[in-house]
């Protein structure tokens, strides 16, 4: 993938924090060995089930608070509040269509004609 394929480097995340899952489970066979944020994988996409949205500045893990650090394609590193990396703009996406489609539901992804076998 060429770097100029990223339309909005400032708003496209390249590297982010993941939930710290130590071991694989029956429902999550990959466990901690999953290094790639695949938005067409897992339960609603890794951007919904694997990303640690509130890794810092929170007293109680698991709550919908806090911030996480992200490295963007333009080389900058910024922190985003809980959930702001996927809403209202999915910053993990490259293409404008998917980035702005708020891919939080399976129905939206089916509308984009993504193979069902991927889910």
């Amino acid at each position: 993938m060429k770097e100029n394929a990223v339309i909005k480097p400032t708003d496209t995340i390249m590297f982010g924090e993941k939930k710290n899952l130590a071991q694989a489970t029956a429902t999550d066979p990959l466990g901690a060995s999953d290094y790639f944020m695949d938005m067409f994988e897992g339960q609603g996409g890794n951007d919904a089930d694997r990303i640690e949205h509130g890794c810092h500045s929170t007293l109680h893990k698991g709550g919908r608070t806090g911030v996480s650090n992200y490295a963007f394609t333009d080389g900058s590193v910024r922190y985003l509040k809980y959930g702001m990396c996927t809403w209202p703009l999915n910053m993990w996406a490259v293409t404008t269509l998917i980035a702005s489609a708020m891919l939080s539901s399976r129905r939206d992804r089916n509308d984009l004609s993504i193979p069902v076998s991927l889910f």
Binding site: F15, E17, A32, Y35, F36, M37, L59, I98, A99
Partner: protein, 162 residues
């Protein structure tokens, strides 16, 4: 007239002076108490002052000759924190162990019981490590690859991705 005489007699006898002195004494007493509290604070809580915190936070130029001094000074400050800030000590103590003397966990001879191993605070626990994600660029490859190639890419068997 009688009241005037009484005030004069009180002034001559010193009662008025004592009343005035008692009011001033409470103010002086307050100042003395404040001074004592400030002195105790300086003595027992050295980490409240910036310059005394600096040795515990910098480790760039630490040498073996300074290690003993820094251990002692840090132990003093840690004791103060133990006494006054039980919540803060977990994070501070943890940072000290990691940044200043990394061998403290694995070399008990250096510590030799001088420092108690603290229980990290729940929100600062880092022993579990961190996990990170790299963007898989799924939407890009979805729009550029053929469906069969994209399925291979997602399954990790795409030949061009090797």
């Amino acid at each position: 007239m009688k009241g005037h005489r009484q005030r004069l007699s009180e002034a001559h006898s010193g009662a008025g002076i004592w009343k005035h002195a008692l009011g001033a004494f409470t103010l002086i007493e307050l100042l003395v108490v404040i001074a004592i509290i400030a002195y105790w604070r300086v003595c027992f809580c050295p980490l409240w002052h910036g310059p005394k915190r600096r040795p515990t936070e910098s480790n760039a130029s630490i040498t073996s000759s300074k290690l003993g001094f820094r251990l002692n000074s840090t132990r003093t400050t840690m004791t103060a924190f133990t006494r006054h800030e039980p919540t803060l000590i977990a994070g501070r103590h943890y940072c000290w162990n990691i940044t200043t003397i990394p061998t403290c966990w694995s070399a008990p001879l250096i510590c030799s019981g001088a420092l108690r191993r603290p229980k990290p605070a729940p929100h600062r626990r880092r022993s579990r490590g961190r996990s990170y994600f790299i963007n898989g660029w799924n939407d890009y490859f979805l729009s550029t690859l053929q469906p069969s190639d994209f399925n291979q890419y997602m399954s990790g068997s795409f030949s061009r991705a090797a």
